[in-house]
């Protein structure tokens, strides 16, 4: 019994690391640019397809293709911010929500047209490797993904704390007007924030590829998890999003283990609804804007 519990917790933590990359991306855009990116999951999906095609046609390992998917998505993020998101800033909820929502629909359905609904997998030499810690089974691919996800989160944290751009981002997140007075160009900061956020989503996609099938709808689960995690953790807070994501992973895994294979998401959604019911004041989304 205890082994089953421990196994479920380990499984949850491992996938929670991937959720964290997506959540941190969502919370970063929300914190700095003040919009919710409904299309974040689709950028995970794009990261997956980039790694899938590089692995299938050029034999590049998905972990190495991080070096391609992350810069590509960083660039996409800069362009997205510059050409689309910038045009709806300050226009109220409706255009802001439905612009990225439309983008999510667009990317998902373009992927469906271009790549079909087939599940695509990449098989690497470590895809089937695993080792045991006592009774607990740890798949190699998931562990590597988890470790790299944590490393990337750490690098981001250091970037936000120590670099000028990181400080500018935090300043723009806290007091945009004051940041502008200090000579920070908000458009540039916003573009970098969106770029970094999308690069993290792309990284999540590449890290998933050795053990998770790519499909046009693949991003949906991750973005839903990220939204819940971002609501649970404090909005715009990188550390909160990280911890909440790991919790969500564990909660989902326990749901799958003890309620049934199709119940992971129910547990997650119920967690969201219960949080809303009992701790709404703790959520930045519930207060006055």
């Amino acid at each position: 019994m205890l082994e089953i519990l421990a196994q479920a917790v380990v499984n949850g933590l491992l996938i929670g690391g991937i959720y964290a990359l997506v959540s941190i991306g969502v919370t970063l855009i929300f914190g700095v640019v003040k919009i919710v990116n409904f299309a974040q999951g689709e950028f995970v999906m794009i990261g997956m397809y980039i790694s899938f095609f590089l692995a299938t046609y050029y034999g590049i390992d998905p972990l190495l293709s991080l070096a391609i998917s992350m810069p590509v998505l960083f660039l996409v993020g800069m362009l997205l911010q510059h050409f689309l998101i910038r045009r709806v800033l300050g226009l109220g909820d409706m255009p802001q929500i439905f612009l990225t929502f439309a983008l999510s629909l667009l990317l998902m359905n373009l992927a469906l047209m271009l790549f079909t609904a087939n599940y695509r997998t990449v098989h690497t030499w470590y895809s089937d490797e695993a080792f045991h810690i006592g009774e607990i089974y740890v798949p190699m691919a998931k562990l590597v993904a988890f470790v790299l996800a944590m490393a990337l989160s750490g690098i981001l944290w250091v970037f936000l704390q120590t670099t000028d751009m990181g400080k500018a981002m935090r300043a723009a997140a806290q007091k945009p007007e004051v940041a502008m007075l200090m000579g920070i160009n908000p458009n540039h900061v916003f573009a970098v924030a969106t770029g970094v956020s999308l690069a993290l989503a792309g990284a999540a996609g590449s890290l998933l590829m050795p053990f998770y099938p790519a499909s046009p709808m693949a991003g949906q689960v991750f973005v839903l998890m990220a939204f819940v995690a971002v609501v649970l953790g404090t909005l715009g807070n990188v550390r909160g999003a990280l911890i909440a994501s790991l919790m969500m992973g564990v909660a989902e895994s326990l749901g799958i283990q003890f309620v049934g294979a199709d119940s992971g998401l129910i547990v997650v959604f119920l967690m969201l609804l219960l949080t809303l019911a009992f701790r709404p004041s703790g959520l930045a989304g519930g207060g006055a804007r």
């Binding site: 709806v88 109220g92 909820d93 929500i97 439309a102 469906l112 998401l265 959604f269």
Partner: protein
Amino acid sequence: MRALRSSGALWLGMLILVLLVLPLVVTSRFAIDIFIRVLLFAFIGVAWNLIGGYAKQLSLGHAAYFGLGAYTSTILQIDFGISPWIGMLAGGVVAMLASLPIGALCFRLRGPYFAISTIATAQVFMLLFLKFRNFAWGAEGTTIPNLGNAPLMMQFEAKAAYYYIALGLLAIGLAITYRIERSWMGYYLVAIGEDEDAAEAIGVNAMRIKRDIYMISAFLTALAGTFYVQYIYFIDPTTAFNFNISVEAALVSIVGGVGTLWGPVIGTVLLEATSALLQSWLGSSFGGVQLTVYSLILMAVILWRPTGLLGVLTEAYARIIRADPEQTRKAALDG
């Protein structure tokens, strides 16, 4: 202004006449099927528009109420032999009751987080209906027994009958919207949509108004759910609680014009006409084409015409009927 209003009544009369004789003139089953889809989704859009358009509570979970309506009437019909006409109203009541706790939870959040939490509620319903097989057929769903021509059980051989029901639903939805728009509640809703804190500051009980309009919206959406399963003779959780229903409800309103009486209708006509054309050009082989085009239209509207296409049409119309050269010149100067 008076001229505009009386010509409006004239147009409305002509529109009603055309809609009533349409199935008598057009007999192609394919065409009637498209008309029914247009009327049904326009109706769902009208229901969404009450909460999403006037009060600006951007729900992306209306599939919850659509599905509850669909399941209530189907369970009542198959397990208890109760006519879907009664089941339809029962489904509406179930949806209204469900909207109370859902609203109590979700209305604590604003803007994007309200939208996300409504997605979650609709998904929870779908997952619950998928999981509990003994309650309502689980993932396999069920076909609805075909009784031939049984008007009392909402089953007809003529497709035109479904057309008239959908038309009736849309008329009810528009009439309710029209009444609400011109009542104190309509003004409160717009005030909440503009700035909730300011509305509360001047004494509007925002929570109560939102709860009431959400109930009405849920009730109407559930009616559409019953109608839809009766029309396609089949129900399963992924049909009844399909995310695309939530999406389309919001989409048609935004494309047509949120917070306007006719916006959802205009939006549906445009989107469904596009979809029908795409289908006849490309066949149904290309998955994803329809939603790709929908999302492009949605982005275009948001970027260039956030007030929706209804605004474009009324401006154009006003320009045409204002034959007075003085006014045309003025309008040109303004524009």
